[in-house]
Symmetry: C3
């Protein structure tokens, strides 16, 4: 069949960064809706950990990461609170944030593939699992902020996740050694996402004006 | 106690049609919100498979259908893409769609009852399981399109599902042979739904103008 | 380690009251959106039982309460229908409702702590479990009513749940006898919540006006 590289300990460290970055972007969204401090923390934690949670619930993969390791909840909560304190500074670091968020997308996607691979899922489900892990947290954030999810409307976000997952799961038949494989996937995913932001790559949109049923 | 007819292989074929039909109606809704192609596919798949997914998660019934058989994901995704290509045509086929959607409601309801029955749920839960399977996908679609779910506001949709499930689970004490039973349920549910659309049957509405707490 | 008092049978009775109260407040919200009767019942049941359902799904704690005991579904549904009939009266009983809703918050929080404690969760997860059980139903209600959840924006609601859970799980080191412990937690939580309503205690808000990314 097909194999995947083992989870790297570097991935582990990157996952803390990813959780913090996604919680901070969610906190900024919370601030735009004038949520209170508790709401900011909750939205941050739900966004940062929601993708992995939905994946685990769909795959029946228990216990959930943050139930087994509540430190993830703490990281997300603290990152959200820090965002409140440093909002002006955080905002000026917009570019740094986009990079951190992109790292989050790629790292979460790889982690999601790993989990599906551990439960012996088929290749399509491994890729879907990566995509859910990378993208579903942002969808929850937008639902809770009462907006049509950005994921469905703009930018190459889900697509980057799918390409990343596809490469991670198959290495396109190259079969390099595991460390190189992980590194290549990370570089590919991050480059794709940053290029997509820089050059405003977008999928074509489907615009339909028929009346409601 | 009470028994239910075995799942028919006809039901199996009808379930493919139902998945495609629900994905296509979701794709039209996505087009009204100017989603991109990836978003259209995702909304289609979530709508078509979301009801069964929620049911399985609530009943702890793993693995999920589309995890075990990713072909369902492919059907939903392809149906959504076809809708993009044929939007004008699809729109003109409005009546055909309403019929397909009604078939979906009835087939999903029966499939949902089957699953609950397999896990030895009690009669009320069998009916609720059918209703969730038939209706929850549309609720997810409306949440993701940022609207109050149509299900809660209009038409006999959930009610048709409940009556269909009740008949399917009990045959109202008639106990015909299984094939006839399945057929009768299908005919009953489909007729009810189409009559409800044709004559605009609606539940009474609860209108309350008290101020917010 | 740390221990928690056994669930009291009084808690059991209070949980019926809590389910009914939360279903009734949801029914009023449904009436403001002109939902039909079936929608009112569904919104009531989802609000009243949604918190515990999300908790159980996240903890992998099956079967769900309402699947094992469909009587809870019936209580929520009947309470919602009664609200339709008595809407004017119910509205006049605003203060009684706030008290019942506060009882619901505290009772659900304690029940959520109990469940997490039964599955040997760590202290932070016990408290989060209590908070999810107490608060998530209202978040589902607001999502389905197409609003930014009240929970994230106003009043001490989640915070009361956290303090209640923290006291319930640790008794702050006092270790009284179980009945007294349960009673003290109940009195503490209820007082906090009612004081928060009476004196309009609020968390500071995070207001951020940076443009969207």
């Amino acid at each position: 069949m097909w194999t995947m590289p083992p989870t790297d300990s570097v991935l582990h460290v990157l996952s803390f960064i990813a959780v913090a970055a996604q919680s901070m972007t969610a906190a900024l969204a919370a601030g735009r809706r004038k949520m209170d401090w508790a709401g900011v923390c909750m939205l941050g934690a739900i966004t940062a950990l929601g993708g992995g949670t939905i994946r685990d619930v769909l795959l029946g993969h228990y216990p959930l990461l943050w139930v087994a390791h509540p430190i993830y909840l703490a990281i997300a909560g603290v990152a959200a609170l820090v965002t409140i304190l440093l909002a002006r500074l955080v905002h000026r670091l917009n570019v740094a944030f986009l990079v951190l968020d992109a790292i989050g997308l790629v790292v979460f996607t790889m982690a999601g593939c790993d989990v599906a691979w551990q439960v012996d899922a088929s290749l399509p489900i491994v890729i879907v699992s990566g995509m859910i892990t990378g993208c579903a947290g942002g969808v929850l954030r937008d639902i809770l902020c009462n907006e049509v999810p950005l994921l469905f409307r703009s930018e190459l976000y889900a697509s980057v996740s799918v390409v990343t997952g596809l490469f991670y799961a198959t290495a396109f038949g190259l079969e390099p050694n595991p460390q190189l494989w992980t590194l290549l996937t990370f570089a590919l995913g991050l480059s794709l996402r940053l290029l997509a932001i820089r050059y405003k790559w977008e999928m074509p949109k489907f615009v339909f004006n028929g009346e409601e049923r």
